[in-house]
Symmetry: C2
Subunit: 592 residues, 2 copies
């Protein structure tokens, strides 16, 4: 039986929704697929539900092919397991928390590592039970600060999350690869380009992680890619570290007055004008060392100041710093911080006076006057010379040599990443690309199993901790990405794998022969096992019907109109726009 | 491809879960269908998910047959729509409430009348768009005070909720009947007995409502049924009201000292001994009027005392009183209440001194000394004579006649219902039966549409308020009820309509011919389009395999064992226990 538009719960809209920032959101609302209920929270209308079911079916098929078993967990869970792993706090404001009538803390799960691990702990006890991969397609909750882009980043969203359980590292590698391969098949079936990039495991923890990023201008992530095959998201990018330099022949550092140098450029100009290097090399911004003071707030509320030294031609990328210090929060030091630390002379902060590593500093005869941790960009290797603050107002030190004149506490990936930066694997300069995360695979390792006590007996009867993987695909986000990629000025154009209907038959005109012919055409197409949306509305103009069809985006449209009297209908390819006159008797052949 | 037990996420348990109060809970956990995560909150394991999908499919088919369109709403919703209808407060502690990061109030929806109505308001505007029925199969949340019985009353549970929209009362009748008929088909397909009983609309409001109750000893509801066809749940039961009596010939009321009458029976005995009726009729407990003082607390916190007069042979049923005064909360008056109202002489409260209806009381020359509302059981009709309190310690009034000697403010259904009570429609005495609510249909009428402003233009271009129906089926509860009804001492026995697999094939023994034969049998059965669970485990004893099969409850079991060498297998009917020797070549014929 076809779905008849004369009796279908659908209302297409002429106006774009006022809050729609991206094309997919705009079109999915206008074409009657979804409807907003609250920021980042949507209801699914019949058309949308059909597409969603098809997206889920494809994911389900590939999960089964990968040997994963389907389960389904609640969204509403008790606090305790998340307390044990620390994520009850780590998630910060992103977690929806609530209390039940007895005052027990509960949460709306943003992801389910804890309870999957506990389920396996509950039921399994031997290496013979492993490997195991289980998954669910389920609604998740994250209280995003800014839920934007319709389904691209919702606060309630459907996700496929799978978890693997092994007792050896080699086993985890296999399970991980099975999911990774399944993801490649899934995205191919959706017709989605993707880049597999190295990712930072972030709050998930674990040892290895890769993201599937779909390159798109509406993407919220940035990743880098070299022509030689390196790919990583910005947070996971690692700087190509130069070799240490021989500093035996370098001149001694000197402190100069540097008034009126409010910017790096004015400082560099003054340096080249008044204090040129003896060997004639000019000073550049990259020769200055900018020491930025940041405040870290850990989960227990402890606030610590740190200083990060980066070359003056770079900026500190707070997102990268956040990853380095997760789950602590990072912000710029404020006036109060400076007031409390007179050793920090604003605008003239230098390595002297920073640092907590007294052993290393002592070798260089340094003494920390601030007790503040001093970390540097990986480019600050031994032997590099810098113009940097002298910890005195209006004065800088020139030719300060790392490893000779100052010590560091640690290296940190804090600088921004730029197009042209060399890939760390030597595969050439990188380009920067915007992308949308559509999948993420993690080797969690034993982190969760350890704290949750998930162990099995191995071949020797010894208890060993299980090693886990976690694999997520945003179901509703993928639907939006597909919509984002498949549309034109008139509306959506669905790929055949997820279209809500295979064929959209439109009866135009008032003659009964049109409707009789349409019924016959519909029946013939349905006999080929295709799903038909039949626009049988009697009092709607052809123009409105065509407009609705273009907006809704079923890839094939059959127009039954005046030609019906001569046994002719029109077959319209929504994607190419091609229209073809076809004998009524032959229409169905196009769908065999 | 069969599901192979050697590689399936399943662990059957020998021990009953300690918290299981009912058979379905015990067996579903032991057989590996579900797993508890928190009180009233369960995870679905692969077997359970298969059964749940089949239950949902049947419901979905019948909803489609009834012309309803499927949509899907979020569980997490904003407060506002529920504030408008008053249910944000009315739901009391049963509602899971939370705040998002911006401090906005949100809830986990217990039911979706509000947002369905708003969706239709959003999209539709004409009578031509109606009638419309839309439904979803979706997870709901209710913070039950006592979540018991596993899936029978969960705090997170799956429900099918449908809503109908009409613009005439006659239209609503038709939409209601379509859903009601669909429910009858659904329950028949599940093999569930049910009784359709009149129900009280309760917090849902509306004009007409019926419950589908499955008679079962684990049921939480009680309903009454007469042999003549009357059926109602206890809350909706209406007392057969006797006709008013002529009281012209009755003697005047008299007040007597009645010391040492702590119970109704002692009072009746004293009455018959010391103050017999002139006409010789004996006093019985049913001739005494017991006036019970209760406190109502309305949603805004206002507390009001009321007195309810019921025949002394009846008890006040607080659940029935609660329904009468919903959404106010009802409790017995406390010592403080009595202390504040000296007009209430505990143990001797009588109609004199009660009441707020001064007009009526004035006719009888009464004067309320308490200002407390006085309501009575429907049996207290004009002309009935009572022994009741005289509002003085140690004294009762005899032969106080309703409508002659005292006035009432209102009638209320407050007395308990007992087997043998006459049905209000004259269809004879009722019996009391315990049942489990498995479906509920409501004619909401215009209550929700009115406050939410859901109107459409009618044929005359006039704005008319839409009339709604609401229709719910507990998906997960039904699954539990089916399990509750289909089991024996060994385990579950699924009906064919919802069984996780159609056939369970067990290979017993170590010979390869057993496994080869099993594979052939599995393939032959699958060729008949049946789903097969294949126990191909090599190191598990036949006894354990049989035990698992009985516990899991697939209705047909094929045992491939020693007979395989002779081309013989055993076909086991799990329900009847019958076992039959069958030629390998003929097994599949049993499933054609």
């Amino acid at each position: 039986m076809p779905t008849r538009l004369s009796n279908y719960f659908l209302r297409t809209l002429r106006e774009d929704p006022s809050d729609a920032e991206v094309t997919s959101h705009r079109l999915l609302v206008r074409a009657g697929y979804i409807r907003r209920q609250a920021p980042g929270i949507f209801a699914w209308l019949p058309l949308g539900l059909r597409v969603k079911a098809k997206v889920e079916r494809i994911i389900r098929e590939e999960m089964q092919a990968a040997g994963a078993h389907e389960v389904h967990f609640p969204a509403l869970l008790p606090r305790e397991p998340y307390e044990v792993t620390g994520r009850w706090d780590e998630y910060g404001e992103g977690l929806f928390r609530l209390k039940d009538r007895k005052g027990s803390d509960m949460l709306l799960a943003p992801t389910h590592e804890e309870v999957f691990a506990l389920l396996v702990k509950d039921l399994y006890s031997s290496y013979k039970d492993l490997p195991l991969s289980i998954y669910q397609i389920q609604d998740k909750y994250r209280d995003e600060a800014r839920s934007r882009g319709g389904l691209l980043r919702g606060r309630e969203f459907t996700m496929k999350d799978a978890y693997s359980f092994d007792y050896t590292d080699a086993g985890l590698d296999v399970s991980y690869q099975l999911q990774r391969d399944a993801y490649e098949r899934i995205f191919s079936r959706f017709g989605l380009d993707y880049e597999i990039v190295q990712a930072d495991a972030g709050a998930m923890g674990g040892s290895k992680s890769e993201e599937f990023l779909h390159p798109t201008s509406v993407g919220e992530d940035t990743f880098v890619r070299s022509s030689g095959g390196y790919a990583a998201n910005i947070e996971a990018f690692r700087t190509l570290v130069p070799a240490d330099k021989d500093f035996t022949a370098l001149p001694a550092a000197q402190v100069f007055d540097t008034p009126n140098t409010p910017t790096i450029q004015t400082l560099v100009d003054k340096a080249n004008a008044e204090h040129p290097r003896p060997d004639g090399r000019v000073w550049t911004a990259a020769d200055t060392l900018k020491n930025v003071v940041l405040a870290l707030t850990s989960l227990d509320g402890t606030r610590e100041l740190i200083a990060i030294g980066v070359p003056g031609d770079r900026e500190v990328d707070l997102k990268r710093v956040e990853v380095a210090f997760a789950p602590a929060e990072v912000e710029a030091a404020n006036e109060g911080d400076f007031a409390k630390n007179p050793g920090l002379v604003k605008g003239y902060i230098g390595p002297w006076g920073l640092g907590v590593d007294e052993t290393r500093s002592a070798v260089l005869g340094e003494k920390s006057t601030t007790g503040i941790r001093f970390l540097v960009d990986p480019r600050v290797v031994a032997g590099t010379e810098w113009i940097t603050g002298a910890n005195e107002a209006g004065r800088h030190v020139f030719g300060l040599v790392a490893g000779r004149d100052f010590a560091i506490d640690d290296v940190v990936e804090a600088s921004d990443v730029r197009a042209g930066d060399p890939a760390p694997d030597g595969s050439g300069p990188v380009e920067l690309i915007r992308g949308m995360e559509i999948g993420h695979v993690f080797q969690l390792g034993r982190k969760y199993a350890e704290v949750l006590g998930l162990k099995v007996l191995d071949e020797n009867g010894k208890l060993v901790t299980v090693t886990m993987g976690s694999y997520g695909i945003g179901v509703t986000r993928i639907l939006a990405v597909i919509a984002e990629l498949n549309n034109d000025a008139k509306g959506l154009i669905w790929p055949e794998s997820v279209t809500p209907f295979d064929v959209h038959v439109i009866a135009t005109g008032r003659d009964e022969i049109v409707f009789d012919t349409s019924e016959a055409v519909v029946a013939a197409i349905e006999a080929t096992n295709r799903e038909v949306l039949y626009d049988d509305r009697r009092k709607v103009s052809p123009g409105v019907k065509f407009g609705d069809a273009e907006l809704i985006g079923v890839p094939w449209i059959v127009i039954v109109g005046r030609g019906a009297a001569d046994g002719i209908v029109e077959l319209w390819n929504r994607r190419t726009g091609d229209r073809e006159q076809v004998d009524v008797a032959d229409v169905a052949k196009h769908f065999v």
